[in-house]
Symmetry: C4
Subunit: 196 residues, 4 copies
């Protein structure tokens, strides 16, 4: 399995998962359409946050694969697991957006989104740790500075999502704000990797 072929499959699933998010955006309910379109804003926000989150994973995954010499079987499986969690994201996004709009089960939905995102971040960290530990899969010319930079940027992901998950037990909106902030933080820090 070449790095290029792995990247193509990862790219395709990330692109599809991001684009499918829109299928769950709706403006149902009562009242005139203009009101319903405005009231649906949590759906738009959830779409944007998950879309950008997947976009950041795409940027960061490229940063990783540029450093990897030859994917080995376990690394390929770890990528499949990451894709499994990314491909799942449209469902908790849909659940969370609907719950925020209707107020029904919003905290449960915040926790559910958080668990999904935490597993996604954990699987991303796992494949990076596997590839970078002792420079197992890294190119011999991969700059140590870049390797360390990726490690430092990814590490907080799990803790951030886990924190937002716990916050969701008490306030769905506070939890939603943290998810949006994480996406914003990673859009900025993730873009820094594409500089290399």
């Amino acid at each position: 399995m070449s790095a290029g072929r792995l990247q193509s499959y990862v790219d395709a699933i990330l692109a599809i998962a991001a684009t499918l998010l829109i299928l769950n955006v709706t403006a149902t309910g009562g009242g005139p359409l203009s009101h319903r379109l405005v009231d649906a804003w949590p759906s738009y926000a959830a779409y944007a946050v998950s879309f950008l989150t997947i976009g950041v994973i795409w940027i960061n995954h490229h940063a990783i694969l540029r450093l990897v010499d030859q994917p080995d079987p376990l690394f390929v499986i770890q990528n499949l697991l990451l894709l499994l969690f990314v491909g799942f994201l449209p469902f908790p996004t849909h659940v969370f957006a609907d719950a925020l709009r209707t107020g029904d089960g919003a905290r449960a939905a915040a926790v559910f989104y958080g668990i999904s995102a935490t597993l996604m971040a954990a699987s991303f960290n796992a494949l990076w740790i596997y590839a970078s530990h002792g420079r197992r899969l890294l190119r011999t010319d991969a700059p140590e500075r870049v390797v360390k930079g990726i490690t430092h940027s990814f590490r907080p992901g799990i803790a951030l999502y886990a924190t937002a998950t716990v916050v969701g037990l008490f306030s769905a909106w506070a939890s939603a704000g943290i998810y949006a902030a994480i996406a914003g933080f990673y859009v900025i820090s993730g873009s820094a990797f594409s500089r290399e």
Copy 2:
């Protein structure tokens, strides 16, 4: 991030967004199927207009990337934002088509479609201005004539969509006609770029 990898991700999301449009075409309602299939024509027209609009964005995006030497982080983010708005397009397309068919909230839907399209055009202009200002990201051999041609072709996009949005406040059908005309205009002018 190489221009080729960025193009692949952009192409994938444009292709998916365009193809997902069909999922929102329906022929529900009362009466015999033959009548319902005819009455659903606004859905077919909305599908065609949005499909061709995305196709034009694909053509024009290629015209841009052929001139870009090395995407930098901010350019990658600007592309993500463009994709965010293109990926959103199936929703306002669906809303507008349904509203035209049922007559319920047609003007609100026209304005909603217009706002989405205006944001899409604005994000497209933004990434082009960023790339081309002072020839920031352009290849040294990018012909000035082509650069100017793209600038002249893109600039009216925002104003055209904004106009159609305002028209939508008064007449949904007039607004729909302008959206169709814009798509037609860009199919023709956009195709001119592929000549270079």
Copy 3:
């Protein structure tokens, strides 16, 4: 626009349109699930016929692009129009399958499927005629024998689909049988092109 980039976009939309077909397969209705799964066979057949039809278009489109030197703007637009009709196919497939199962409006659905397929075949013929007339876009080394073979294979497509459309006015099932036979015919003849 290079032939490779055009091919990538065409391939992506064909692949997505083919895979989206499954989303319209359902086994709703009354009775035990085992009966409903059996009664849904027209949906499976419609899925298979449209999936293979798109697969054949993919094979044949490759046969064309291998002969094309440099796509020009009008050729790119003609490809967009072909994609517009292929991307539409999931809708008439869905309508036809449902109508065959319920018996409601089956002939209208057969005609509707036929019109869609005829337009698709016409747009495919149009882009081939444009590219091959006077060898306008063909490589200088494109063998005349292959060019003639493609022309002979494509030409009957429009008449075949138009015939099935007219037959649909009288019998939906006879029309469905012709659509299946056309797909089967093109799977076999289309595969012959990949031999070149």
Copy 4:
């Protein structure tokens, strides 16, 4: 038809089919959302099993195409048939998950999933037998050890799925367990191929 173009189309359809699986995951029903999200676990499990099954097909298909010199027309058609069955998988996955949750028609759904998976495994074996018999399509430098390894790994697939299908006549849950075990087995054994 080059091996690279065939691989791209196969990859695209596998990626789309895997990602579409999430659209059928729902948490409908009565009770608070937190309960519904927990009760929906068969949908998550079905998503994971089918997603990983498709991922394994992707890995194994690469292992095959790396050995194939030049796809011939019949091989391309066999790939279309494999894609037809893989593209169908989201439907039986959806049916099976719903039946396990509601208990309505679970055994019929288990058998239906099994028939679909058996046909998929059979079409995969068929294309491999066609390509490898007498080394018909294999590169002259394809190592016999790898060829034999693929044959040994693929052969049990049909029997395993057929067994699970028969078990489904008596117990849907036992059948579901076997499908999960097959996916797990192939994730591990399939990953071994990417070692080559």
